[in-house]
């Protein structure tokens, strides 16, 4: 264990195995002349109980990395693990069940099923599994996110911020191993965005959840414990205890 996250919480104890990691992850699109290396031998670990942001310029491979660790896409070479599970060994069904039971998702848009109520959307992975889940936990999550009075509403009756909070609640509902968020505030105004990020932060701090988030917004990234910077499919840098100013500074250098 070489990676230190926040000094206070995660030290070098081997008992704290990472929630997810990749080994030499490579993703190639196309063939021969048109070949594009979206990921070029990425080895990275995401520690439990922390929020990690993945940043990088457009085309750096940050979304591809997220999709491949989350089991939404497959690697061309190398390995991706969630807990102990080697994703490359799993078929579609096993991957789906892994996502359902151990992974939470927050997407930028189209996060909710329009025909289901907020409550049903939150419990969707549990419904799909045919499980009741931990009702006390879900109540706590709903309460924390401040959407208890919105549970019987349909997504079309909720504001953008409320919709994303429902999405966060869904991601938390089954107490997953890890939550992946893909530009979770990309479609929100800054106030609603800040609220959602605040909740995600509390999920990590108060509820011991693990979050990996892709973003291009330095302010959003500054909520993370650690930032991994990607460029041309490779990890080029990382940063602990980021601030928006430091991130902006670092991002500017990609423009050179």
């Amino acid at each position: 264990m070489t990676v230190l996250v926040t000094e206070e919480r995660v030290l070098t104890e081997p008992a704290f195995a990472p929630a997810a990691r990749t080994v030499d992850a490579t993703k190639i699109y196309g063939k021969d002349q048109t070949e594009v290396r979206a990921l070029d031998g990425v080895t990275v670990e995401f520690a439990r109980g922390a929020m990690t942001a993945i940043m990088g310029p457009s085309g750096s491979g940050k979304s591809t990395l997220l999709h491949c660790i989350a089991g939404l896409d497959t690697l061309t070479a190398g390995q991706a693990f969630i807990g102990d599970a080697d994703l490359s060994t799993l078929g579609d069904n096993a991957l789906t069940i892994l996502r359902r039971d151990h992974v939470g998702f927050v997407f930028q848009a189209y996060n909710l099923v329009t025909t289901l109520t907020a409550d049903e959307n939150i419990r969707l992975p549990l419904l799909l599994a045919g499980k009741k889940g931990d009702t006390a936990w879900i109540a706590k999550v709903v309460d924390t996110l401040g959407i208890a009075d919105r549970l019987q509403h349909h997504p079309s009756e909720l504001s953008g911020g409320q919709q994303q909070r429902v999405a966060v609640a869904r991601a938390l509902a089954s107490k997953p191993e890890i939550i992946f968020a893909d530009e979770p505030t990309g479609n929100l105004d800054s106030r609603a965005g800040a609220e959602v990020l605040g909740f995600m932060r509390r999920a990590v701090d108060d509820m011991s959840q693990t979050i990996v988030m892709v973003t291009h917004d330095p302010v959003a990234a500054s909520h993370a414990d650690r930032i991994v910077f990607l460029a041309d499919g490779k990890i080029v840098d990382e940063m602990y205890h980021p601030t928006a100013a430091l991130v902006l500074e670092r991002m500017k250098r990609f423009g050179d």
Binding site: T96, I97, F105, T114, T115, L124, L128
Partner: protein, 850 residues
Amino acid sequence: MLRTALKSLLAHRTRLFATALAVTLGVSFMAGTLVLTDTVSRTFNGLFDNVYSGTSAVVRAKAAFNGGANAGEQRGRVDASLVDALRGVNGVAEVEGTILGFARLVAKDGQAIGNPAAGAPTFGGNWTDSKRLNSFTLVAGRPPATADEMVIDKKSARDGHLVVGDTTTVLVQGPPQRMLITGIVRFGSSDSPGGASVALFTRSTAQTLVAEPGKYDSISLVAKAGVTQQQLVQNLRAALPARIEAVTGKQVTKEAQTQIGTMVGTFTTFMLVFAVVALLVGSFMIFNAFSITVAQRTRENGLLRALGATRRQVLSSVLLEALAVGLVSSLVGLALGVAVAAGLKWLLGAVGIDLPAGGIVFAARTVVIALVAGIGVTVVAAVSPARKASKVAPIAAMHGTVATGSGYGSKKRVLVGCAVLVCGVAALLFGLLGHLKSPVLIIGLGATVVFFAVAILGRTVSLPLSRILAAPLPRLRGAPGILARRNAMRNPKRTAATASALMICVGLVGSITIFASSARATINSVVDSSFTGDFIINSGAGLAGGVDPGLARRLNQLPQVASASGLRLGSAQVDGSVVQLGGVDPRLAFDIIDVKPLQGSRSDLGRDAIAVYSNVAADKHLKIGDRIPVVFKDTGPQSLRVALIYGSNQLAGNYFLGMSAYQANFTNQYDSYVFVKKAPGASAAAAVAAVKRVAVDYPGATVLDQTQFKTQTAQPINQLLGLVYALLALAVIIALLGIGNTLALSIFERTQELGLLRAVGMTRSQLRSTIRWESVIIALQGTVLGLLIGMFFGWTLVTALNRHATSVFSIPYTTLAVVVVLAAVAGVAAAILPARRAAKLNVLRAVVMA
């Protein structure tokens, strides 16, 4: 704009394929029907042209009355002596008397050939020596020369495995005869006249066996060279006695062709109904497909509008697209029509309707009707979606909001739907209950309007119906169940339109099934309540002929039989309307057939008497002793005295005669049925064995107990039901294609949502299950509405018939339950392809596509 329309058409070709298929199937059915009936008409017309080509004139009795579309004009016979009288008329070259009556050949294996009760007729006639007047040509052997010789048609020879030199039985009036086959004939260019079986005897034998000694049915003449048909007829008229007429050969040809034309016309109408149903069902599918594609192209249309396209241009681009789809699919359908014609011919053959073969006739009319119907349906169905497309605001280019058809629909819509429904029901009832000459069109129109009304109301009905039908699903199927239910409720308009197609099919299937079931129940109740005997012998000859009355006489001599009574049936015109008039022996029949006599006496049913059903007597204010005018074809107008008024018309009909009156007015005596009551002491087994030992001498006649008689009587109903089911199957297939198409389009629309579901943990099989159950909900919705409409239609149909005969209304619950289960299974089947496609969806692409 044309280019834009065509480009968009090509871009969406896969999505429009299923739509086009609906039009193609409907059009091919329509074209197939027209090709088939045109072919049949021309074959028959050619046949008659050929048959009467040598006939210059025909002399015959004037028509006594018209027996209706199928029976034609009914006329008596002419004296044989007239032939000699006409021979001397100026301009006559040849004269021959013609005889045509009931006769039925028996095959080598002892079974009677043909099925005169339900299929082509079986004839007997005389061999005509004149080459020019004889429509038959010998292909083997020689003409009959003695009283125990005959020639038969080639088809019967083939079917009955008979060859020249064989001796076989032929059923005629009087006891069955053994005859030597001396020759095989063909009729013009075909093996038999339109599938009928023919036996030809010498002149005097034919008179005795199938007609009347000293009489001919008609006399055919050939004019001398240079004498026109018209001149010949003029000359003949002067020589004719009263009530005899002369007509030209051309006239006779035309009459025969017209009669066949009427029959083919009825058949064409029957078949076209199914083609129209198929197109109607297809129109819902077209409407749906265009609605969905237009909704999906909201952004594109908004962009067109923003770039300066006028509303009219957007409207016409969609309509042009419909026009192109309609044109292409109609052309394909037209081409397929030829294959469909062959298929229909086979199908009809399978249910016992043999049509003569002939060169395919592809009339210009077929092309015009098929194209107009196909293109018309497509364009009309696309009008409403096109209008919607044209109403897209330019700003929609920015949001690309997809219009959803959620909610119950406006109050105005509900009102309009209800009004249309009332109109449809009114038209239906008027057609059924009003005293109309040709009610079929108005009934059909009423039924169509009812279907449309329910389709209009569908959106309002759909939401609660989906909710109720799918209520157990969430518990049964968990998340896929919840999602399937919500998806079916998401766009009630679309769900309703999709279900409507199936609704029409199930509505028709349901009403026909109920009608048939009621007819069967009626038969059962008639037999149960009116038949107090033990066995019934069915002659198997229908109304064309029957079994020798000698059978009943012989049965009455058996110790195991208490009494046997024949029922004779003949066509007559009673007080202006044509009826099948029964004749029974009043001394014997009333023990076996219970007609519930009310007034008068059965022993009074003499030579000049008639029995009348009490309701008819009440309607016409008839009492015992009153006179009714009756026209017989053999004896002309008569005046009969009411001798009996009875309370049950179920087996006897509205009128019947005593045997002496029947024998006085009908030349030919056949029993259509023989009713048998066993002797009190005899066991049923012994009685039936004894009866069968006698009946075996009369091939074609079958001995039936009550149950068998019910089954046999119901057989034509079952056969018709089978045919209707087979023909409706096409519409059902189109409706299922419609469900599949709508699902496929909906799935395309919900790509992102499906991706999300897959991302958060829905397995492929859960996804397939979701789509499958949505399909089942739609299918069940159509089925439930269809069954309700079907029950209503069935009820009105039975009620309408009830005015004439006491009929029973019976709902076949088991069959209808089977329909519901089949609909659910069909829903599953319709969802197979869309579900598979959805399951193969790339999760990532679906999620990322923002």
